[in-house]
Structures are given as C-alpha cells and as structure tokens.
Symmetry: C2
C-alpha cells in the first residue's frame, strides 16, 4: 500500500531518533511491499530560528496532506526561563494539536521485564504494571482564555470543557478498555472543580453503554500517590489535559524505561506519533540518545494505518534488541551501541 508520512524531526535529539524510526519504516516497506512517501517539515525551536514561527504554514499543509505524522521532540533551553519570550517552541506543538484536532493523546505505559532494575521503584511494586493513559489534548486550561492585566499585576487562565469534548474522549477510552482488563479510572478533582464534576457526570453517562467496564473515580492528588504505591491497579486512565500531562509523565518514569515509551495523538482526520521523552538537549549530536521510543512510535503509526503485522514486526525487533542488550547507554552502561547502530539492528532484524 501507499502512504504519505509527514516527518517532523524537531529539536535536540529529535532528528537523530526520528532517523532511526524512518529506517524501521523503510525496512517494513521493503519486507511487506509497501510504499511510504516521507515529507519533512519544521516545528519548534528550529522553526523559530529559521522562520520566526514555531509552526510554519507549510508544516501545517504538509501534515494536513499526510496519512500520519511522525514527530521527534521540541524544546530548547534558550527559550525556557524567559517568561517574557513572545514566541516559544511549545506553541508550535500546541497549535498543531489544535489545528489538526488531535484531541486524544494515548500513552501506553508498560514495565518491560528486562528493564525493571532501572526503575526507581522496587521490583515487586512495578513488575507487571501495564496501563494506557487517555489524555484529552485540545481543551481545558491549555486552550482557555489567557489574560494579563495592563499593569502586569494579575494573570489568569480559563479552563473549560463541554459535554461534547468529554464524550468523544470517553468513547475512545472505553473502547480501548473493552480490549484490555476492563477497568477505567477517571482522574479528576471533582471535590473542587466544576469542570471535573462535568467530567464525572458525562463519563458516568457514557459508561452506561459499556456495562462490562468497571469505572473508578480518583482525585488527581490521590492518583499521583497511587501511581507510586500501586501502579498495577491501573488499566485505562482517562483524564483531562493538564492532569494527563502530569500523571502520564509521572507514570512514564516508574517503569525505568522512559526511553521506550511512545504516544499517539489522534483526531478524526489525522494522527501524530511521538516518543514521550523530550528534546534532551544535553545529548544532542552525541549518538547516545535511545531511539527505541521513536521506533515504537513508528509501530503505533503503522497500527493506526491498519498495518497490524507490520507494527508487530517492529515491536518484536525492539523486544529482541532489549533481550540481546543491543541498546544505548541509558539501558546498558557497558559497551552500549550508538543511536544509529540500534536503528540499524532494528531495521536488519525486521
């Protein structure tokens, strides 16, 4: 089959890891007789440097014309810690999510047996943990009205949600739950927030259509504790944008394998796939960045395009590289492989 894939390498280690994911896609294309056309586009700090705009029009056009988007990472320290900066790399990503309507972020978090010793948590706490976090991505306080008073003394951010926004998210999460262990946990702060109470009411309503799914409600502060005390209790977590940002990042480190976690941001028309890790500027250009999360995001991309076997072939190759210890230094301090060598191994194995 033929597919158009937009590639946004982004900043920091983004380009290096995305290059390995592309190798994996090429290997799949060869092996299964597909044809992928790649179009590269700019976003983030590199786009600001080149064009002044973190999300150039052209990038948006390329993404809209694509069947799926493979994204690396964005962010550059020179734009952080400058609260007065008018243009920031992150705006590119936020605008892309909003413009393409990528309202549903999915982050599977799994403790890989081979990597349990890397976890800051004790083995017995983390072994067997396997959850999928559904985070709303185009609403809430991220996209509410922002205001700064003329005298600079008072700032505000609005947070709002509609039944419609919550309902479409909830259906996607419930559907996934049906394919898993049939437990859905809504994370909110319904004892304080009106928006959270709307989430609780709406999810309770949607739940009626999925009677085989057990629904739990957890306040976000308690969820932040439970994630550490007993991560195995979670199957599918459903939550709003800001809570999802925090809880999914927390979840991503408990397995000791943030270098292996990929995520999908799905809309009705398009979808974007990226590693959970950031642009990791300190590692840029050194050949030490772990490409597995990016490679696994390519697998998610293939699955999204309906190419199940192809996706699995990548996942199997990744399992193999872990098994054989053909990995970068974050996972294997002695005799690690370089970013590019890991990519080669995966492509060869496929």
């Amino acid at each position: 089959m033929d597919f158009n894939i937009a590639i946004i390498p982004g900043d920091g280690i983004g380009p290096e890891v995305t290059a390995q994911a592309k190798k994996a896609l090429e290997a799949v294309a060869d092996e299964y007789g597909h044809h992928f056309t790649y179009t590269e586009a700019m976003m983030g700090a590199c786009a600001i440097d080149a064009t002044g705009n973190p999300l150039p029009e052209e990038t948006l056009d390329i993404c809209e014309a694509s069947d799926a988007i493979l994204f690396g990472a964005i962010g550059d320290p020179k734009y952080d810690n400058d609260p007065t900066a008018k243009v920031r790399p992150e705006q590119g990503l936020l605008r892309l999510r909003k413009s393409l309507g990528l309202f549903c972020n999915v982050r599977p978090v799994k403790a890989y047996e081979q990597l349990l010793d890397n976890s800051p948590l004790k083995r017995e706490i983390i072994s067997g943990a396997d959850m999928s976090i559904y985070r709303e991505l185009t609403g809430g306080i991220y996209f509410g009205e922002k205001h700064l008073s003329d005298d600079g003394q008072v700032a505000s951010d609005g947070c709002s949600y509609s039944v419609k926004e919550i309902t479409r998210m909830a259906h996607l999460a419930f559907k996934e739950t049906q394919n898993r262990r049939k437990k859905l946990t809504l994370v909110d702060k319904a004892n304080v927030l009106e928006t959270s109470r709307l989430w609780r009411r709406t999810v309770t309503e949607v739940a009626k259509g999925y009677p085989e799914v057990e629904v739990d409600f957890l306040f976000v502060d308690n969820a932040a504790m439970q994630m550490i005390l007993n991560p195995k209790q979670f199957d599918v977590i459903l939550t709003e944008n800001l809570f999802g940002d925090i809880i999914s990042d927390e979840a991503s480190v408990i397995g000791g394998s943030i270098g292996l976690l990929a995520s999908a941001s799905v809309g009705t028309e398009n979808a974007l796939f990226e590693p959970i890790h950031g642009s990791y500027p300190q590692a840029t250009g050194k050949g030490i960045a772990n490409p597995l999360a990016s490679i696994l995001s390519a697998a998610m991309l293939l699955r999204h395009l309906g190419l199940q076997d192809e996706a699995e072939s990548i996942e199997t190759a990744v399992e193999k590289s872990l098994e054989l210890g053909f990995t970068t230094e974050d996972l294997k301090p002695e005799n690690p492989l370089s970013t590019s060598k890991v990519g080669d191994f995966i492509a060869d194995y496929i």
Copy 2:
C-alpha cells in the same frame, strides 16, 4: 504561658488521632508549665450531618478566637462520587482556609531512616531525601469563578493569581530556604499558563532579595518525574495551589511514611496544623490509625507559638517510638500498638 487552641477532630480517624495529639500537648503543658485551653469545633461531614453546614459559624468564631488550630481530617465516602451534591465536606476546609486567610501551606517531607523499607522506592533513591513544600492555599483555580451553563453542557473554572499573592508566598518560602540548603525550586507550567509566567516573573523579582539562594524552575510534569527519579535534589519547593496539591501528595508517599507527615497552613493572623493523610474511613474506630502525623502536627503548632524546646520534645518522643518500634500496624505488622497506646507512650516519654 497561656494559649487557646481550637481543635477540629473532623471525620473518620480524625477524632482518634487528634486525641493522641492532645495528650502530647497536655504532657508538654505539664512538663514546661504552660496552660493550654482547648475548644472543640465541628467541620466536614460530621458538621453537615449535625447542622447541614460543613463549616458552621460557631467553628469559624472558635478558630478566630484561638491562637492556633489543631485539625484532624475530613471527608466521607457518602459525599464522594456524587457530583450533584450541593454541600460537600471539603467545602468546610476550603472556606476555613479562605476565611482565615491561611494562604501558605507548608509540608515538610523527610525520609525517616527507620521506615525506608516501607517506601515503594528503592532505598538508594529515597535515603536522605528532605524537602519542604510551600503550596499557595487560598488562590488559583480552587477559588476562581466556577460556572456551569444553564443547559449543563459547558463547565468552567477560572484560575487567577496576583503579584501580591505570589510575593507574600515567595518571601515565606525564601526565608525558609535560607535556614535550609539554600535551594528553591519553583514548580509551574510557564510554557503554557499565563499565571505560571506571572509566578516565574514575580519569584525572579523576589529572589533578588535572597542572593544566597539558588533558584530553579521546573515544569510541573517534569517535577512529577523528578520527584520519583531523584527526590534528594529538592530542598524547598514553591508552587501554586493545584500543583502543590498534586506534587505534595506525590512527595508524601515516596518516604513510605505518610503516617508521619504533618502540615501547617499559615496566614497573617492564625495557623492550622494537620496530618497530611486523610480521614481513612475504613480504619475508623478500629484503634489502628497511626497518630504520629497528628502528634507531629502538634509539634509544628508549638513551634509556631514560639515554643521551640517543647516542639522538639515531641519530635524526640516520636523518633524514640520509631526506634523502639512502639508504633501502629502500618509501620509494624507484628505486635503493633493501638492508636491510643502510641499516644500514651509519646505522652509518657515527654
């Protein structure tokens, strides 16, 4: 000296643990020749049941007339999971904070050597961690305008902060930092929120008055990861209300000793002291609740009243009970002491 102490036992295990804290206060009064007058007041689910109001006028009056407030816990499952409930126990606490202007919540989190094995984290990650979290408590999205559209389709919560609110918090946090390891971390989401950018600007301004303090900025999602990956890096954390709720609860479990953590909520006129743990309804009346956090909140109360030595005498007694294993079943599954016996031991030791 003479002091008026308001006691709000609250719900669940609140009354049991507060009773032990009162024993400790009485032991201190005896030993050091002070005179404490206690006035009990209702708040939370028990107050709703008795009066229909989670924070009766009388409670507010008693608190206002007191030198300090000792509080247990609130919350009852019968009010959770009912997003339509008009009156909720938590409203009592939120209104009390606001009415008394208790704008600064302080949560010291320390890994007790004797309890390291209870932690979900590996010993080497957590051993030596010692931080103090400064959470703004009367602003932000907790107290912003809430709205639900007439048709029930759209809900919203407003979040706002002023330079004045941030400045007074920041000074308290910087002063504490000077007495500690001189590192302050502001946790925010300045890459997305206008209020966070105001926090960053204002804290940068206040920092100029404390040149010996090193200031760090951390996005809240990253903070949620760092808290697990390397909690020892934190000295004083300063943050807004909602982020503080989440991050401090996360921090409270990493030491394996949530049953030992106390917190202070301080205003210009008054201050309230409470355990970090909740009302733990499953344990109510069984004599198994750990009273140490409540007892340690009595120590914080004494320190707030200027009674340093007295506070230390409680803290020493608590260290002793840990050393000797005179503790409840959460810390010592075999041959535990009851809630009340632990309280007796502490009082005797003082």
